[in-house]
Symmetry: C2
Subunit: 404 residues, 2 copies
């Protein structure tokens, strides 16, 4: 196997969300009858159940009618729209953002992550990555041939903190880590980092001069009035060390437009723009206009959306807890649950295949988030409430066939 083949071998996408159509079902260990029902796809949110921001398509059409001016923006995005974003996000996180130099529009938060990590590290650089956390963090570092230093997250704790192992993080920073990437709320567990944990991260980043990328994609969807602390929002922070990522693909259901934003360090944003120029030139020009619908949603639109998700979370957590086969920490923010199955007697990848073939339910196996999560699976409960409940019932039924 040559170098490039080796490099791509690490980038498996067979079990990645959205790729289930390509799964080769190798499972023979079928126990019990098929459940013949409608597909329930927990691998991502259902934008037909939670519709995009009402004005989004109108803004798109406005972009098209603006013509060449909107088709060919600067690589980092339209000046006017960056202004809108810097203003609105600045108010949201309570810190000023310079729209000329400190913000870039990207093709989704995935685009922002790729550009940001690629602008900070190169071959052999060390990167601290939380386990579990969003699988693309790891894959991007592997593509860039960096070295991953795992940091554990003891998320199954009973207190109001994420459970980040701060000692491990400091040891990693001491050992010469260049970059720390983490999502807050954590994907897949839905836990929020406490103010103290965020303060610790800020201090360590400053002390050891480590760059930090905070993926705050779900930070507008906080339940139970939990406190959420943005990494960037502090006078103590060294702004040149930090990049924050946000986007309207999840809570706001705009994933079909591929829109994201990164803000923070001027130097890194500058590199990200240079890289954007050769990766995809720019976020699709007309699509950028849709960002004007973000943070300007109708009154109560966001409040109701969060409430609706909180209700579904309650339903599912209750169901899983009642069954006794699962250990699950309730989501504090975002749309993910990451239940752990007690006494599972097949691999979780096989379980995911069986759920799909026998019960028409798609989940993401825990091993996508780290090898050790071999008894866990992730579901995105941004679904029609009734379907979400029905899906949980099917999972519980199938799981009962494969536990001791």
């Amino acid at each position: 196997m040559n170098k490039i083949q080796e490099k791509f071998k690490k980038l498996g996408i067979e079990h990645a969300p959205g790729q289930e159509a390509n799964r080769k079902n190798s499972m023979e260990d079928v126990r019990g009858p098929k459940i013949h029902e409608e597909l329930i796809d927990f691998s991502h949110g259902d934008v037909d159940a939670f519709l995009p921001i009402p004005s989004s398509l109108d803004y798109f059409e406005k972009g098209v009618s603006d013509g060449g001016n909107q088709a060919y923006t600067e690589y980092k995005g339209s000046r006017e729209i960056r202004k809108h974003l810097a203003d609105k996000i600045g108010k949201f996180i309570n810190k000023d953002i310079n729209s000329d130099t400190n913000i870039i529009i990207t093709p989704g938060t995935q685009g922002a992550l790729f550009l940001a990590i690629s602008s900070i590290i190169t071959k052999d650089d060390k990167v601290a990555i939380v386990q579990p956390d969003y699988f693309a963090n790891r894959k991007i570092v592997e593509f860039l041939e960096g070295e991953i230093i795992p940091i554990s997250l003891n998320y199954q704790n009973e207190t109001r903190k994420s459970g980040l192992n701060i000692e491990e993080l400091e040891d990693a920073f001491k050992s010469g880590v260049k970059l720390f990437v983490f999502s807050n709320p954590n994907n897949p567990t839905g836990v929020i980092y406490s103010s103290k944990e965020i303060k610790n991260i800020r201090e360590l980043a400053k002390e050891y001069n480590v760059k930090v990328i905070a993926d705050e994609l779900y930070s507008r969807q906080v339940f139970d009035e939990n406190h959420y602390e943005h990494l960037f929002t502090s006078d103590e922070v060294d702004t040149e060390n930090i990049i924050t990522i946000m986007g309207p693909s999840k809570t706001e259901s705009l994933s079909g437009y591929r829109l994201g934003v990164a803000f923070g360090s001027e130097e890194i944003i500058k590199r990200m723009e240079k890289l954007q120029a050769i990766v995809s030139l720019r976020t699709a020009g007309y699509n950028q206009t849709v960002l004007k619908s973000w943070f300007t949603e109708p009154d109560n639109w966001l409040i109701n959306r969060v409430k609706d998700h909180q209700n579904i979370r309650n339903d599912l957590v209750n169901k899983f807890r009642k069954s006794n086969s699962f250990k699950v920490r309730p989501t504090e923010a975002g749309s993910y649950l990451f239940p752990e199955i007690k006494n599972l007697n097949i691999s979780v990848e096989s379980l995911a295949e069986i759920l799909q073939s026998q019960a028409n339910v798609i989940v993401t196996p825990g091993t996508e988030f780290g090898e050790q999560f071999s008894n866990s699976f992730r579901i995105n409960f941004s679904q029609d409430r009734e379907k979400a409940n029905e899906g949980a019932d099917r999972i519980i039924e199938i799981v009962s066939r494969y536990t001791n």
Copy 2:
């Protein structure tokens, strides 16, 4: 300067098309009065002069109304749309394309180029690149820390060939080149590779087992009924060695949607999809639908568009030739002209800055395409015909002040 800073230093975008708003005008050598007229931007085509395919927005809206199904496609793009593309492009190039395994939808042809090059080479691999050719080819290789082997193109020849130096190419292949990237028609000169040249490239690729990326972005806009030979269209070709790139951003004016396609080698397409998954997940779902308007334009739409561009080319070539300060080969396909200025007595970057500040005309300096093109500039003449003529007049006037 650390490793990552060095890496990004090579990726300058100050003189890249579309970034002119950020040019720092350092030029003091002003000769003669300002020409106070409307902006004419030759750095890219004007989609307000040549409008997008008429049905494009309708298709987009159809995509949005399809909802979740279209928002979350496979990473390589919607199966149905890949089918459409494989069918239509297969007929266009007269060769079958398997829509399941041999084609991927990308965010523009820029996206396709980045994914393809990144899926073929890694650090220290050698890449043969034509000079002059599209500047991003070089920049992507530099980002990946590959080694560039320049191949000269003697485009100022009087015969019906591109002027590719085949001996240099074979020497490069012999020396262990992994990949050869070229655009056909060539960007910036607009010359078409002859059938014999294409045949040579196919044979050399096979003999030395070198991968070839053919950027055929402008292959639908061929003038004077010139013969155009697609690299992929031959029974002799080793299909696993070849990736072809196309897209509707130029002739079809759909740049604002960021759409492209790559087809060819199954193994490379597979890697490109894995990479797409971490670079931007997928081409924006709703945008993909717009590809259904491509290759299904109204009767005569394309014929008229090509004819209109040919007329503008004729106007401009006549103007530049009449002035005697320029050497210019007429565009054979595409919308670019690459005039060489005789006896220019300032740098072409300074000339570009002066053209912008003194005559409100934007051109791309030749040095973007290779250091040696220090007397040339590129213009994209996909403009309103009258404005294009007016712009050429202004260029000729300003150039007359800076030539011996």
